[in-house]
Amino acid sequence: MKKKHMSKNTKTVLILLVIAVLIAVVPLFARKGASFGGSDDAGSVMVEEVRGASYEPWSTPVLENLLGGELPGEVESLIFCVQTGIGVGIIAFCMGRLVERKKWMKKYEKEQEETEEDGGIARDHAGDR
């Protein structure tokens, strides 16, 4: 019965992940010509629109100051990947530990039960002798 419960969970997870991927991918096909820029940039355009004048940011990002220009796009994606990597690494490591622990705990409980049974049997045998 427990197994059945698990597979129901697995099914839910799979369905949810498929939906999530679909939501993310569909716009790419639905809006073929779109540039898919960042909405933060759209936000800064809106600042100019609301003010009715162009806006000069009064401060530039630290890294851009150091580099004397914008971070190259490829490098930016690298750093985004590093961020994802750090997160995924931690989650994967922890999940790995937890999954193994559950297996180990199950095994331990089973062994515990078995040794109890074995003990009973051994005592019976001792009585026979």
Binding site: T12, R31, V50, R51, W58, L63, I86, R97
Partner: protein, 254 residues
């Protein structure tokens, strides 16, 4: 003795954070998921930063309590933080033809309460502000408030409310995470509107305009965030039950 030295180190950290926050307020800069670097007037940067301080401090104490009382739960804290890292690094295309990313703060808020998440959120915001020129150091206060305080608080409150109403737990988690994400962007719009009131119509009109930019892009992403949060909670429920019990995750459901 270890306890003493730890308390000392924590005090030092809090003090450092305070100094850091002050120096930030003094040396104006700005962030983007965020509000971009340099896009918020100095006064607003300072005001939002100061507003964040109590929450961030509460977060420090909350995390310290978790560390002291049940170290075993740290694995969940690490995973909540990592979840924010992953989720907020994924730029996802949306129906409006522009990209945005999610916050991922719902999970931590549901598991540990909102103040804890403020610390996790600040870490992510700093990472993005310094290395990615995404958001900024001057707008750190404002962005912290929207992403690491307002959003998580809504998520946590909503989750508590829904579980009291005995709504299905997964549905509550989904709603809490999704609306928390959406609320983050509403607050961002409001922050921008306060700084840049529209010439005709003032703050409200301006807020609507900014919402018009962020909201349609964010709605589908909020749904994705809700889904992913539910997925990871399912994973935790099946593999980390002892830890979840420790932090009182099952307490609210009677």
């Amino acid at each position: 003795m270890t306890n003493k030295s730890m308390a000392h180190r924590e005090k030092l950290l809090v003090a450092l954070a305070g100094v850091f926050a002050l120096s930030l307020a003094a040396a104006p800069e700005a962030n983007a998921m965020h509000i971009m670097e340099g896009y918020l007037p100095g006064g607003f940067c300072i005001a939002w930063g100061v507003l964040c301080l109590p929450f961030v401090l509460a977060g420090f104490f909350s995390i310290r309590r978790t560390v002291q009382e049940n170290r075993k739960a740290l694995i969940l804290l690490a995973m909540s933080g990592a979840f924010i890292f992953v989720i907020s690094s994924l730029k996802i295309p949306s129906v409006t033809g522009s990209c945005s990313h999610m916050t991922g703060t719902g999970l931590g808020a549901i598991l540990f309460g909102p103040s804890c998440v403020s610390i996790l959120g600040v870490i992510v915001l700093l990472f993005q502000a310094i290395l990615l020129a995404h958001g900024g150091l001057t707008t750190l206060g404002a962005n912290t408030f929207s992403m690491a305080i307002a959003g998580p608080f809504l998520a946590w409150g909503l989750y508590a409310l829904l579980s009291r109403l005995r709504v299905n737990r997964r549905v509550s988690i989904f709603l809490a995470a999704a609306l928390g994400d959406l609320f983050t962007y509403c607050v961002t719009s409001l922050q921008l509107a306060l700084a840049y009131p529209s010439q005709q119509g003032g703050v409200a009109a301006s807020a609507l305009k900014f919402l018009g930019v962020f909201a349609p892009t964010q709605v589908p992403l909020a749904v994705i965030e809700g889904i992913l949060t539910v997925v990871i909670v399912i994973a935790l429920e099946s593999y980390a039950q002892p830890e979840l019990k420790l932090i009182g995750y099952y307490r609210e459901v009677k």
